[in-house]
């Protein structure tokens, strides 16, 4: 089903949705700086031409999330979990890369062994209105990661910006609940034609030639390679690439306490932090940037594929854009791919 939503009606459309749903969408915190947040009024929504700094994973897996509250009742401790999601939710505006990443996170948090209720409840309660990426950047490499600027997986509804209006594609049963909205009209052939053109143009623009073939196997042989000294040398050990990565999902669990009453909270954590794997004794199995940067890359391109069968990188380019040492994961991948030739020649 393909519908048309005039931009002049956009705020009214959102206001209508907000009667039934909590709305999460990009909000601008400063010039050029935005994040996904819960919306109080449609005017806060800022659908910018490129990705917000923080990825959409934050809506399902917040950077800082209370898991339960506790308090003493007599000698016993009463625990109240905050896992329940009270209202249905809409996530508006994530691009295909962020949504592909969410599907990867699904395999972690909603996978076969243990289901993470906090994530799963939010995920189940949420209808996703994805957004076509009509202006991919030179740092994007989604098309090399089995995605693309118009990749629709993960969206219940999919918006394509036509200039004056959005073309709204209804893709799932969940999305159908919204198609009856009064501001959605049937799209005409011009709209469809225009959308097709935009899609073709963007898809062409996003073409990249980064090859990932055989990377998992190559990394298997590279664990002890001096290559990682080189990668780790430049890293300053901040957490930008992991916090801004739409697929990274490490976390820490801590208690925040005041006089016997408090909360257990989980915060994002990062394998690039020196303290992340440090044990209480002071021993650290990943003592330097060499092991830590290796962990990050191995996890994305070797461990994750081993466990789930998919690479845990979607090519959004955030780590390329925001690395304070201007490390470029694409360059690193290329070097890993080159590594194969050297080692096979040597053998």
């Amino acid at each position: 089903m393909k519908l048309r939503l005039d931009k002049k009606d956009f705020h009214s459309f959102l206001r209508g949705l907000m009667v039934h749903y909590e709305l999460f969408a990009p909000v601008q915190l400063g010039e050029g700086v935005s994040v996904y947040k819960k919306i109080g009024d449609p005017s806060e929504v800022a659908l910018l031409p490129s990705n917000p700094q923080k990825p959409a994973k934050e809506v399902f897996f917040p950077q800082s999330e209370t898991m339960f509250r506790y308090g003493k009742v007599g000698v016993q401790t009463e625990v109240t979990s905050t896992e329940k999601v009270e209202r249905k939710r809409i996530l508006l505006g994530p691009r295909p890369c962020d949504l592909k990443a969410v599907s990867l996170l699904d395999s972690v948090f909603a996978g076969k062994d243990y289901r993470d209720v906090y994530y799963v409840n939010k995920r189940n309660a949420t209808t996703v209105i994805g957004m076509a990426c009509d202006q991919p950047l030179s740092t994007c490499f989604c098309s090399s990661m089995d995605g693309g600027p118009f990749f629709r997986e993960g969206s219940d509804l999919f918006l394509i910006d036509l200039g004056e209006a959005y073309l709204v594609e209804v893709l799932t049963e969940k999305g159908k609940a919204i198609e009856t909205n009064e501001f959605l009209k049937e799209a005409d052939t011009n709209d469809l034609e225009l959308a097709r053109e935009i899609e073709q143009k963007a898809t062409k623009k996003a073409e990249t030639s980064l090859s990932l073939e055989g990377i998992e196997g190559r990394l298997d042989r590279m664990v002890e390679s001096p290559f990682w000294d080189q990668v780790g040398e430049k890293c300053i050990g901040c957490r930008i690439c992991t916090y801004l990565c739409p697929t990274c999902h490490c976390f820490d669990i801590v208690d925040e306490d005041l006089n016997g009453k408090g909360e257990r909270v989980r915060h994002w954590d990062s394998c690039l932090s020196s303290l992340y794997s440090q044990e209480t004794s002071g021993h650290n199995p990943r003592p330097t940037n060499r092991e830590r940067t290796r962990q990050r890359l191995m996890h994305k391109f070797n461990y994750f594929p081993k466990n789930v069968g998919r690479i845990a990188c979607v090519g959004c380019g955030r780590c390329v854009l925001y690395c304070p040492a201007d490390s470029d994961i694409r360059e690193t991948i290329k070097e890993i791919q080159k590594f194969k030739c050297q080692s096979s020649n040597a053998k």
Partner: protein
């Protein structure tokens, strides 16, 4: 040309084994950027570059290179950080060979980005001009209008200490009487100032890039990570974010060279140098001290003077 001399010097140093490696700037993979590079092989010196985008303060890498003899490419601010680190006995002076480069001041890529519509794909600098190109635009910008905030108020463009100085000395700026941004900020009411601080730090995602980019942040355990005592929580509450940023900045009192690495590293574009610049100004006014300017002066908070001001004490 500086770049040529830089490569030549690096080659000399590596070939004569005067240093184990050169830490310098290389071509970044994106326009408007350079990237830190580590060169051990004299054949690779041609990867070294010098241009308007060499903003990193490379002395932040020194902590990890403790067992080596390092040839470090430094600007004015970077050399001051290196001197401050020597003062704090982070390494021995003979471990370090400072390759000083007079700084033409660095271009703030975010300012340039804001000046144009669309993605920047190519940039070239010619004298005072920046030629910026994208898919469907090409503009010429005046370099001077797009400097980093920290570079705009920089007074020591020449490395104050260097084992070799490349290029002709540039004119030093006269000492600014006041810092315009600080002046402006002080013109606001305390409430407005706090609101600004809260708004800026409110964007913080606690990636600690400001800390990691800073050459002076080298504690093995940062106060923010300490669990015993636990000074603060690790979440995103405004108070905790403010706590972190107050103490991160305050820990730089009398140690900050004003290089602006903290601010440049921040992915959320939080203004940070207006904090450290103020501390620098206070330290100068109260104790007559500037970080890394006089090599053997005591760090101001590790010493005292009988005559220090105390009108604020009851």
């Amino acid at each position: 040309m500086i770049q040529e001399r830089l490569r030549q010097k690096a080659k000399e140093l590596l070939e004569s084994k005067a240093v184990d490696l050169i830490v310098g700037f290389g071509e970044g993979s994106l326009p408007l950027r350079a990237t830190p590079i580590f060169i051990r092989n004299p054949q690779e010196v041609n990867r070294l570059i010098w241009n308007s985008f060499c903003g990193h303060n490379l002395s932040t890498y020194l902590h990890k290179l403790k067992s080596l003899k390092v040839g470090l490419v430094v600007k004015g601010c970077d050399s001051r950080s290196a001197v401050a680190l020597l003062l704090e006995k982070r390494f021995k002076a003979d471990q370090l060979f400072l390759i000083g480069v007079p700084c033409q001041r660095m271009v703030d890529r975010r300012r340039v980005k804001r000046a144009v519509q669309g993605e920047i794909l190519r940039v070239s600098a010619q004298g005072d001009e920046l030629i910026v190109e994208g898919e469907d635009f090409k503009t010429t910008l005046n370099r001077k209008d797009f400097l980093y905030p920290s570079c705009q108020v920089c007074v020591h463009r020449m490395p104050l200490r260097a084992d070799v100085l490349l290029g002709k000395p540039v004119e030093e700026f006269s000492l600014l009487e006041t810092h315009p941004e600080i002046e402006e900020f002080l013109g606001k009411t305390p409430e407005e100032r706090w609101d600004y601080f809260e708004r800026e730090t409110g964007r913080c995602i606690r990636c600690y890039a400001c800390r990691e980019a800073c050459p002076m942040c080298y504690c093995t355990e940062c106060f923010v990570d300490s669990s015993n005592p636990q000074w603060m929580e690790k979440g995103l509450s405004p108070s905790d974010l403010e706590f972190y940023h107050i103490v991160r900045a305050y820990h730089q009192t009398g140690r900050c060279s004003g290089c602006g690495a903290c601010e440049r590293a921040c992915p959320m574009e939080i203004r940070l140098t207006y904090l450290t610049q103020k501390l620098n100004e206070d330290v100068k006014e109260l104790f007559g001290f500037e970080t890394g300017v006089v090599g053997d002066a005591f760090a101001p908070l590790s010493t005292y003077d009988m005559g220090d001001k105390q009108e604020f004490i009851k």
